[in-house]
Symmetry: C2
Subunit: 222 residues, 2 copies
DNA sequence: GTCTATATATGGATAGAC
DNA sequence: GTCTATCCATATATAGAC
């Protein structure tokens, strides 16, 4: 379920901040939210092209007319979702950055947050990281060129410049930092990996930093 | 273009073994091959659901009837492609294993091969690693549970047992080994990363092994 | 085995009442 | 702004000639 849609600010970046008591009641939620909510569920479950306007209409308990009024069609719904969720992620990443923890720790927090989300808000992560948007939103830029991902690469870049992270090609280093985590998320979303991701966090982080820590720091620790 | 379809054995695992002179001539190729060939191109370019039987029919210069005769429909084409390409990858991985290079070097070779393929046989990699098969082949197992991927994880597992690779949760280690490479492939396929992957190989491999080399070996090298 | 013509279903989109 | 009924394009699948 989405709490974020109406106002991104309300969903702070607190890790684990799941308002369990808020009992999502799709019936009395705003039409707008109900549409986006069920669209997310359906798109993730079946894929964009296997979901019809009629399906959304039925499951969201709204009329086709409303969907067209609000979003101009199925693609419009997908696009709205796309930008809402990117913005949601952007907020989360930004909040981590604003904590001013240092670049390495920022990367850790982002990875942990992604792992948590994969377990508790699976569909959001699935839609952002797993969907092939190019196939139904051909005019939108690919997700990995969106702000949150840019910000993540930026953190790595600054980490390199500050000496916290090993030098090298920015793409290689960024992929070395986040690639393992993203791979685990994909495996988890595909149902191949049975273990909850947070359990694997410590070990992954350990491997990862051993790979991209500058030699200087590596020695000083040893 | 596909050389593999008709007989997987013919396309050996030689890296860079591109028979440039063979001049792919879709006109006189077998109907079967022509269908699969153009289907791959179209599916990768537009996505499965944005390609109609008629599109394949036109571009492959065959009739709709032929497509149904050979594959039973669009889904049949996609499924045949899926298994052909998985088998192709499996052959490549198997050939690497058969060289008996040791587990670390085997991982390197596989990554290099994937990088090469991404540049020279882009659509094959895109279809195998980038497509969301669950959305059009809901009854097939996810690609990451297919043999080539299992074999890759198996190599890592044996590497761990032999002491060549650092101990830890198999999923974490495997993701640490291949995650960065797969991430780079995705970035490249999305067009975000402009550099050819083989150029980044050395650096990636370096980062990667620094992360997952056992402490014992690490010290002995230093 | 290959082709064309056609049937049938589905789903996106609109019109117009409330 | 919300709804229902309807239109129309598209795409899968089949039938039947060659």
């Amino acid at each position: 379920m989405l709490f974020i849609i109406v106002d991104c600010k309300t969903s702070s970046a607190r890790i684990c901040a799941m308002p369990h008591l808020k009992k999502a009641t799709p019936e009395n939620a705003s039409v707008n939210k109900r549409i986006l909510d069920t669209a997310l569920d359906l798109f993730v479950e079946r894929g964009f092209h296997n979901v019809s306007i009629h399906d959304i209409q039925k499951q969201a308990n709204v009329s086709i007319g409303s969907i067209y009024n609000h979003f101009g069609g199925k693609e419009g719904v997908a696009k709205a979702l796309y930008y809402h969720l990117i913005r949601e992620m952007e907020e989360l990443v930004k909040d981590v950055v604003d904590e001013g923890l240092g670049y390495r720790e920022s990367c850790n927090r982002i990875i942990y947050m992604l792992f948590e989300y994969t377990e508790t808000k699976r569909n959001i992560i699935a839609y952002v990281l797993h969907a092939k948007h190019q196939e139904f939103l051909p005019d939108e830029p690919p997700i990995c060129s969106s702000t949150p991902f840019k910000t993540m690469r930026n953190i790595v870049q600054q980490g390199i410049e500050s000496g916290e992270i090993r030098e090298g090609d920015p793409w290689v280093i960024a992929s070395s930092v986040f690639g393992g985590a993203i791979r685990l998320i994909h495996l988890r979303l595909d149902g191949v990996l049975k273990e909850p991701l947070p359990k694997l966090y410590d070990e992954l982080i350990d491997c990862m930093w051993q790979g991209v820590t500058p030699a200087a720091i590596q020695e000083s620790v040893a």
